[in-house]
Structures are given as C-alpha cells and as structure tokens.
C-alpha cells in the first residue's frame, strides 16, 4: 500500500522565478560563459596561447631568412601582418574545429541547451578569442622591433582595428562552425583558411606581389583588409584609404553574424 502513496514527480519543471531576459540576465550569462570557456578550455587555451606566441615569433624571424638582406618594406609587412594572423587564428581556425569536435562528441546539443542568450554566448566567445590572441600580438611586435629595428608608431586607430579584426575573424569562424553540419567539411575549410591566410592573401606581403587576378579576388575577402587596418594603427604613412578596408571587414563581420544567427535560430 505504501507504494501507492508515491506520486510521480511533475513532468514539467517547476517554474522559475528568475526572469530570463533583460540586461542583468544577459550580463550574468556573458560572465558565466566566459568562466565556462576559461574553465573548460584552460589546458587547451594555455597551450594554444603558447603555440601562438611561438608561431608568431617563428614567422617574424623565419621570413627574414628568405632573404639575404630583408628589404625594409618586406620586414615591415611581415611584422605588421603576423599580429593579424595571431588575432584571427583562434576565432577563425580553432573555434570552428572546436564546434566540429563538439558535434562529433555529441556534446554540441548540451552546450546549445544552456540557458543563456545566443548573443551573450557569441559575445563571451569573442571575448575569450580576443584575450587569448593579444599576448601573441604583443610578443610578435616586440620581437619584430628587436629583430628588424622597426619602431612602430601606435595610433589610437589600433584599438578599433584590433577589435574589429578579431570580431570579424571570430564571427566568420562562429558562423562556419555552427552553419556547416558536417565536421569534416568544417575541418577542411579551416585548413584551407590557414593555407590561404599565410600564402595567398596579402597579409604578410603587399598585394602588388600577387598576380593581378588574385589581388582582385582578395579585395572581396576580409583578410587583406584586416592587415590594412591593423597596419594603419601601427605605422604612419604606409597605408592610405582605410575607410574601404574598415567597410569590407565590417561587412564580413556582419555576414558572420547573420550566418551564425541563421544557423542558431533554426530548429534542428
């Protein structure tokens, strides 16, 4: 008889008194997710930050070896291009791979089910990517200064340039990771990105060294423009007409946001 007294738990969760909207809730979610990423990726992020620092230093020093005496312009382009790669590497390349891994390990749906606004999740991820990229940027610049005797002239424009470059890189990666259903395709596309970023986009060298058609293709992509705006914040007199570059990078940032919103907004 005692068993009959047992009543099943309610099928619906008890209604929460917490309001899941509004600015305080958004900020709370944002902070919680930053903590979530930092805790979940602590090994991975610290390893990655060190690899980024080594790779950045390696590129700044290594490309100098291509030349018997590196021309001043080439040194300047490499030194101001490597920080751009540092900034987008985590958001653009490793972010999508991380999402792809979550899809493979079947933890993707769990992470998606966390009760946080999508914008807070995206914002937290952007912040983490930005913070993880900055140390490598600083180290690359310091090494470039020491190796090539370049003195950078930091202008206030560096701030929006860095923020926007990291934002667009992260958002393209975010959209890619979430919108592409097949993890293998994501992996392949990111590998192609790495290859393109180092060798086929005018980040580490001037666009005039590319064949004309490839330079024209690159105009439509954000990577060369990212280098232009970051370079404009680090040097004076080298870069002109940054307005267009800001616009192109911003448009790609918006494309990334729209792709992410579309992928995250639809029901699976």
């Amino acid at each position: 008889m005692a068993e009959l007294a047992w009543t099943p738990p309610p099928a619906i969760a008890p209604s929460s008194t917490i309001l899941r909207s509004g600015v305080p809730y958004w900020l709370h979610s944002y902070r919680a997710l930053i903590r979530w990423h930092l805790a979940g990726l602590r090994m991975w992020l610290s390893l990655l930050a060190s690899i980024q620092i080594l790779a950045g230093a390696g590129f700044v020093l290594g490309i100098g070896l291509f030349f018997r005496h590196i021309p001043a312009t080439a040194a300047l382009f490499v030194s101001t291009g490597v920080p751009v790669i540092n900034l987008v590497m985590i958001g653009l390349i490793l972010g999508p791979q991380l999402v792809a891994d979550q899809k493979l390990q079947q933890s993707y749906d769990f992470v998606r089910a966390l009760p946080v606004p999508e914008t807070a999740a995206a914002g937290a991820w952007y912040t983490v990517c930005l913070l993880a990229g900055i140390p490598a940027v600083v180290v690359s610049l310091v090494i470039a200064e020491a190796r090539y005797g370049i003195s950078f002239t930091l202008s206030p424009a560096i701030l929006p340039a860095v923020l926007l470059t990291a934002f667009t890189g992260t958002m393209i990666g975010y959209g890619l990771g979430h919108a592409v259903p097949n993890p293998t395709v994501t992996r392949l596309v990111t590998q192609l990105f790495i290859f393109a970023i180092f060798g086929f986009t005018p980040i580490l060298f001037p666009a005039r060294q590319l064949p004309g058609w490839l330079a024209a293709v690159n105009w439509w992509f954000p990577f060369g423009h990212m280098a232009v705006i970051v370079r404009a914040g680090l040097t004076s007199g080298l870069v002109h007409g940054v307005g267009t570059s800001y616009a192109v990078v911003a448009v790609w940032g918006v494309i990334g946001v729209v792709a992410s919103a579309w992928a995250l907004g639809r029901r699976g």
Binding site: A55, G58, F59, L61, G62, I63, L65, F66, F67, R68, P71, T73, A74, F195, F198, G199, F200, L204, F205, P206, Q209, L210
Partner: protein
C-alpha cells in the same frame, strides 16, 4: 599406450607450408601491399590534397614573399618544392596513420597477422615511397611553369628522390612506433613542418641563415634532401653530395633502428 597418448597430444593438422623462407616472405609482402593499398583508399584523397598544397601550393606561395624574383630565387624555389612535397608524406601522413590505428585499437590487430613484421614495415615503406612520387613531380611541373626555369635533369635524380622518400617514410614510421602517445607524435610532426617551411634552407640558400642555424640544418635531414634533389635537377649549383647522402643514409638507419627495436621487443 604411448601411441594413443601421442594421438591425443598431437594437433589434428599442422599447416603444411613453412612460415619462413624467402618465398613466404615475398608472398606475404604481396598480400600486405594489397592490404595496405586497400586501406590507402580511405585517405588517398586527403593525401593528394596535402601533397598538392605542400608542393605545388608552396611553389606559388614562396614567390609572393619576394618583391622581385631574381633567377637565383626562382631556381631555389623550383628545385626546393619537390623536397617540400616529399616531406609531409613521411613525416606527417605515416605517423598520422599509425597514430590513428593506435587510437582505434586496430594497430595490434594488424601486427597479429601471420606475416613477418619486417614484411609489414617493408610494405609501408614501399607503398608510401611510391605514393609520394606523383605529388612531387606535380610540384616540379608547377614550379617550372610559374618561374619559367629550365632544369637540366640528370639520372641521379632517381636514386636521390628514392632515398629521400625512403628516409622520410623510415623516420616517420620509426617515430610513430617508438613514441607511445599518438598526440606527442602529432605535435612533433606539426612542429617539424613549421621548422621545414621557415627555418630549413630548402627554398633559399643556406647562406641566408646564421651560422649556428646552418650547422643545425646540416645535421637534420631536410637540407640534405634538398641538396640531393637539387643536384639531380640542376648542374653546377650543388657540388659535393657525399655528406648529404651520408646524412640521409644515417637518418634512414635511425628510422630502421627505431622500427626494428619496437618491432622486435615483446610487450
């Protein structure tokens, strides 16, 4: 009494063929090559992509870094890219595949097959060496087309390239076997690619390097690969190859020694 016991103890039918001797070894090699080729279908496409990127892709890419491409630079890039195309196969694909088998747990299965382990190693060496050749040739074709270089190809390119491919596969295989953790192998492979692309005088002359780095590169196999292949494609640039051949043979021996040590021991 004793005859009845013998009848019980003796296994019912022993295999007739002896599992030793050159005939058995060669027969096993044929089967093992077929087995490995069958498996290669899974990753052959990815391998082609990697080889095209590292070979032909790099041939184009290095050129973009120079404001003006002098004939010397063009010659170095053209004759260096076949070496670049050979490297990922041995140093990345081989350890990657072995690592994947270890992670999947199929590595022990393959070792349990009734063929001599020396056959399994030989089959891997042969297969990868053969598979690396088309991408290498493609890299050379793209580079000569892009930079308009006329090469004087000498017959010594054949043994040179074969030795380079064999060395790369041997070291990659030995490394993958000797290092227990596949993640460590993967890390080493990626670090090697970085070193090869930026710090080894393959597509630029060693005189660009500081003396100490140049000395390190003379001990590592990559510069010697480039020298041997460059000597087969040009005349007059590379003069003394003895040291390069010795370095390559030395590294091949190291690879084989690592392989033999792991293959021979019992766990």
């Amino acid at each position: 009494m004793s005859t009845a016991q013998d009848a019980v103890v003796r296994p019912p039918s022993l295999p007739v063929a002896a599992r030793s001797g050159p005939g058995y070894w060669l027969g096993s090699l044929g089967s093992m090559m077929r087995f490995d080729l069958g498996q290669a279908r899974q990753w052959a496409a990815i391998m082609v992509v990697i080889q095209v990127m590292m070979g032909a892709g790099m041939a184009l890419m290095y050129g973009f870094f120079y404001p003006r491409i002098t004939p010397t630079i063009a010659l170095y890039i053209s004759t260096g890219t076949p070496t670049l195309a050979l490297i990922p196969l041995g140093f990345v694909m081989v350890p990657g595949n072995v690592g994947q088998r270890k992670l999947e747990g199929t590595f022990d299965f393959i070792w349990s097959m009734p063929v001599p382990r020396s056959v399994q190693a030989t089959s891997t060496f042969l297969l990868y060496t053969l598979l690396s050749l088309p991408g290498t040739v493609l890299a050379l074709v793209v580079a000569t087309w892009r930079y308009g270089i006329h090469l004087s190809i000498s017959p010594q390119i054949v043994p040179g390239m074969a030795l380079c491919a064999l060395m790369a596969v041997s070291v990659g295989f030995g490394m993958a076997l000797a290092i227990r953790n596949p993640l460590v192998t993967n890390l080493i492979a990626n670090a090697l690619i970085f070193v090869v692309l930026l710090f080894s005088p393959i597509v630029f002359p060693p005189s660009n390097l500081p003396a100490w780095l140049s000395a390190v590169d003379r001990a590592l196999p990559f510069y010697s690969m480039a020298e041997v292949i460059r000597a087969g494609l040009t005349s007059g640039i590379v003069t003394d190859l003895t040291r390069s051949y010795l370095v390559l043979l030395g590294w091949t021996a190291v690879g084989w020694a690592m392989t033999a040590w792991v293959v021979g021991r019992r766990r």
